[in-house]
Amino acid sequence: MTSDYRLERNAFGRLVFTGAHGDVHEGVVPVRAFPIGAPDEGIALVNPHGHELAWIERLNDLPDALRTLVESELASREFMPEIRRVLSVSSFATPSTWRVETDRGSAALVLKGEEDIRRLAPPALLITDSNGIHFLIRDRFALDAASRKLLDRFL
């Protein structure tokens, strides 16, 4: 698929979008429509005013150069550490501080209340910590036994 727009990164690290009619937008950001449910489908390029400039049906359909650009921008904007292991929890009553191992290194999170653990489409869970960071557990049954046991106390 060829696109009728161009995307480049400028010296300020911002994406610059040039549309089919020569309109130029700086500071364009890609936004996933379903960041959890279907991350690779439906990505909008949005200008700083929040207006949609282009719609990407599927990331894989893009030409390579464009795709890497979009992917790198997404990677630098998205922050949803995926919990691989729960190492310890400070208490089973909230607020409780968890030490976890994520795909982005080990971290500590403060769980303010059980309601901050959101059930997504099973078996995924989304944990919001006291700073508002979302930690994802993609498959809670795939965690190791110790983590599952700790986690289970909060569900």
Partner: protein
């Protein structure tokens, strides 16, 4: 990129000297910098260099957790990128800018010059305030370095911990003092003592009665011993029955039974009375506390869950106190007394009798843990079931309109199924528990029989003693069985207590000030100073500064979602600002008592909420002692009087739950009357007229004109034409103020407001045309 790759040569040369006069170094760092960091930083600093602000970076460029540091000194910006050892520096020069923004919980600092981006650092939002300080200091130092003047030091008092500026009337930082990360203690039930304390004398009386009642119940088995040894066995051996002795023993039995009956009745009555009161206190206190919590708390909680906590959980605790705990106390007393009696009769047999006790105690202990988590889970699931109901019933019109009854039923079934699953799991352990205790009881009895018979055969005890023992322990083990039940009920009650104390322990995120400032008279001057706010991680408003003079009417306009209602929430202190401050007559609203402050505010919202009750009650909601004349005057001013009179019961008409019996415009006018009645200094109208048709709007508008006079007014209106009266219009766009001025000025500027206005004017035209078209069409049909 023009960066030096560290370590910096001059910094290293300086470092020994820097270390030499360590005591004098105290002024070189902000007090909030952790000690562990200082050694690392010192190696980088020149002799006369002071660190003025710092930010601990916890993410690297690929957003992995790693550790780094950004510093602003009086000479330059210094940074060690996350996960790296090398330091980089940027001395102050023209064209440098440092910017901060955040997205989805990650903050970004960007250092740029005219040609491009020099560096970028990422951090989790816990460090956002420090980042704000850093950017501030950077700008100040940069300006100082460029103009050659000494950078002005910040005059504001700062919180020593997080460096939030402190406002007049604040001794402690509103931000830090609210952090509560400590988990509640496990001995939650003991905390119920707070509620039991007022009734302690009655509780003591109840306890003494329990003691006596239990003692009385222990008399009958004791009497079986002499009955057996002195009456029955002698009779079997050929002696006649001694009638006097029998009468004595039997009347003893009867007396003990009667005594136990009277005492048991008294103690149950007293203790039930007390526990009922404790439960009621608990419920009221929890509800009162709940009402004080901030909007934010309610935003994050489900209605059904809160209802379950205050309703059924308190009841469960109540039953626990009045029934189970009482039984348990009786049982413990009984066991202690029985043990004493048994030991006094025959220590050996007593020992054997009591042998199974530790085993059972151990069993109870093991199961306790499993059951506790299980029961906590059951509670949470139960709340989920209630939540489905609380979600669906108020939205029943939507459910029916979209014919989704089946789906909602399925949702309820799913919640119920989940409930079943969890209960099944708990019951698996629980069902094994009771039979095991029974089995142990039987085995215990068996042991006593065997050992007793052996002792009787060796003439160490009499048959009477063995009978007494058997009589005692059959009661005793019976109690053990019921005692084992205490495990589950205690755990259930503890889980309930924990969930209640979760509410009670929650500190409002709009806390009452420690040293409240009281304003004797309110002028109504509102100042917003660099106000920033975030819902969770979503930055909604940024750096808003507005000054509103007493009596001025300010209109807030902007696209939907531009943060207008958020401003209202902040000014009403439903939420506290994340940055900056809001001042009323020069005093930070965080240092005013919350209720006192809100008394000065009249609020009319887009969706007026009416409570179940009469119209008069609803109008007088903010001032329950208002006279009828006042209520009518307010209704007249709100242009509600006439339609109220048309209702069958006038001001005494019931409005139904949430005001269902009234139309949107009628509800709105009642809510305006409500705001009018309290005669507030400050009036806030959030799209008060946008849900009604134009005619009604005109009426409401007339009502509002009455309301606005002489008050500081902040009005948000969807239709810009309704804001013509405003002294000033503030145009918001994506959370920032973009334009300020009156209608004419803003139209002249042809900026944001102009476009908004033009767009609406076009719409109105087309609406009019459509109306005309319709009329024409109807005319033709006739």
């Amino acid at each position: 990129m023009k960066t030096t790759s560290a370590p910096l040569p001059n910094a290293q040369n300086d470092s020994p000297a820097a270390r030499a006069d360590l005591p004098a170094l105290a002024g070189r760092f902000p007090s909030s910098l952790p000690d562990g960091r200082r050694a690392e930083i010192e190696t980088q600093l020149a002799a006369d260099e002071n660190v003025l602000a710092h930010l601990e970076i916890d993410l690297d460029a690929g957003l992995r957790f790693a550790d780094g540091l950004v510093l602003v000194s009086n000479r330059r910006l210094l940074a060690r990128a996350a996960g790296q050892d090398a330091w980089q520096e940027w001395p102050y020069r023209a064209g440098l800018t440092l910017q901060r923004n955040d997205h989805a919980g990650v903050g970004t600092l960007e250092l740029c010059d005219a040609d491009g981006r020099l560096a970028q650092w990422r951090y989790t939002l816990g460090g956002d305030i420090a980042a704000g300080r850093l950017v501030d200091q950077f700008a100040r130092q940069l300006a100082g370095a460029l103009t050659g003047k000494e950078a002005a030091a910040s005059e504001q008092a700062l919180c020593p911990v997080c460096e939030t500026p402190l406002m007049a009337g604040q001794d402690e930082c509103p931000k830090c003092s609210r952090e509560v990360d400590a988990p509640p203690s496990t001995w939650t039930l003991l905390r119920l003592w707070r509620f039991a304390h007022p009734y302690r004398w009655r509780l003591l009386a109840g306890f003494l009665l329990t003691l006596c009642a239990t003692a009385a119940t222990l008399v009958p088995p004791y009497l079986t011993m002499p009955l057996m040894d002195n009456v029955l066995i002698p009779y079997q051996n050929g002696k006649p029955i001694d009638r006097g002795l029998v009468t004595l023993y039997l009347s003893g039995l009867l007396g003990a039974a009667l005594l136990a009956w009277v005492l048991g009745w008294a103690r149950t009555y007293i203790l039930a009375l007390v526990s009922e009161r404790i439960g009621a206190d608990l419920r009221t206190t929890t509800y009162e506390h709940l009402l004080k919590l901030s909007q934010e708390y309610f935003g994050g909680k489900r209605t059904g869950d809160l209802m379950a906590r205050i309703g059924s959980e308190t009841d469960r605790i109540n039953i626990f106190l009045s029934l189970h705990l009482l039984d348990f106390a009786t049982d413990v007393l009984m066991i202690c007394m029985t043990t004493a009696i048994l030991v006094s009769i025959n220590p050996w047999l007593a020992l054997v009798t009591l042998l199974p006790l530790p085993i059972i105690a151990w069993l109870i202990h093991v199961v306790r843990d499993k059951l506790r988590t299980g029961f906590e889970k059951v509670d949470r699931i139960w709340a989920e079931v209630t939540n489905v109901l609380a979600d669906t019933i108020p939205g029943i019109r939507v459910v029916k309109a979209f014919a989704q009854e089946k789906r909602e039923a399925a949702r309820f079934r799913a919640a119920n199924l989940h409930n079943l699953e969890v209960n099944d799991k708990v019951n698996k352990v629980w069902s094994l528990f009771t039979p095991t205790v029974t089995l142990l009881t039987e085995i215990g009895l068996l042991i006593v029989w065997a050992f007793g018979i052996w002792q009787v055969s060796r003439d160490q005890i009499t048959v009477g003693v063995l009978t007494a023992f058997l009589a005692y322990i059959s009661r005793f083990y019976l109690r053990l069985d019921s005692m084992s039940r205490i495990v589950s009920v205690t755990q259930k009650a503890a889980a309930g207590a924990k969930r209640i104390f979760d509410i009670l322990d929650h500190v409002s995120s709009v806390p009452e000030p420690a040293n409240p400032v009281h304003l004797p008279r309110v002028e109504g001057r509102i100042e917003l100073r660099n106000v920033g706010f975030r819902y969770g991680t979503r930055s909604v408003t940024r750096d808003i500064s507005i000054d509103i003079a007493p009596g001025e009417m300010v209109g807030l306009v902007g696209h939907s979602g531009s943060g207008k209602s958020t401003m209202v929430n902040l000014i009403c202190r439903f939420y506290d600002v994340t940055e900056g401050a809001i001042l009323l007559d020069g005093v930070d609203i965080r240092s005013l008592p919350v209720a006192e402050y809100r008394k000065h505010i009249g609020l009319v919202l887009q969706e007026p909420f009416l409570f179940f009750g009469t119209i008069a009650e609803n109008i007088a909601y903010g001032k329950p002692d208002a006279t009828r004349a006042e209520i009518i005057a307010a209704a007249r001013a709100a242009h509600a009087h006439e339609f109220i009179l048309r209702l069958p019961h006038g001001y005494d008409s019931l409005v139904g739950e949430r005001g269902q019996a009234l139309s949107g415009g009628e509800r709105q006018r009642i809510s305006i009357a409500r705001a009018l009645l309290i005669d507030p200094k400050i009036l806030i109208l959030d799209e008060a007229t946008s849900s009604v048709d134009t005619t009604t709007e005109k009426e409401i508008q007339k009502a509002l004109d009455n309301l606005v006079r002489g008050r500081t007014t902040i009005a948000i209106a969807h239709r810009l034409s309704t804001l013509r009266e405003a002294n000033r219009l503030v145009v918001l766009d994506r959370g920032s103020v973009v334009e300020v001025g009156n209608h004419e000025q803003l139209m002249e500027r042809e900026g944001h407001y102009y476009t908004l206005y033009q767009a609406q004017a076009r719409n109105v035209d087309t609406e009019d045309q459509l109306a005309r078209h319709d009329a024409a069409a109807q005319g033709e049909r006739k």
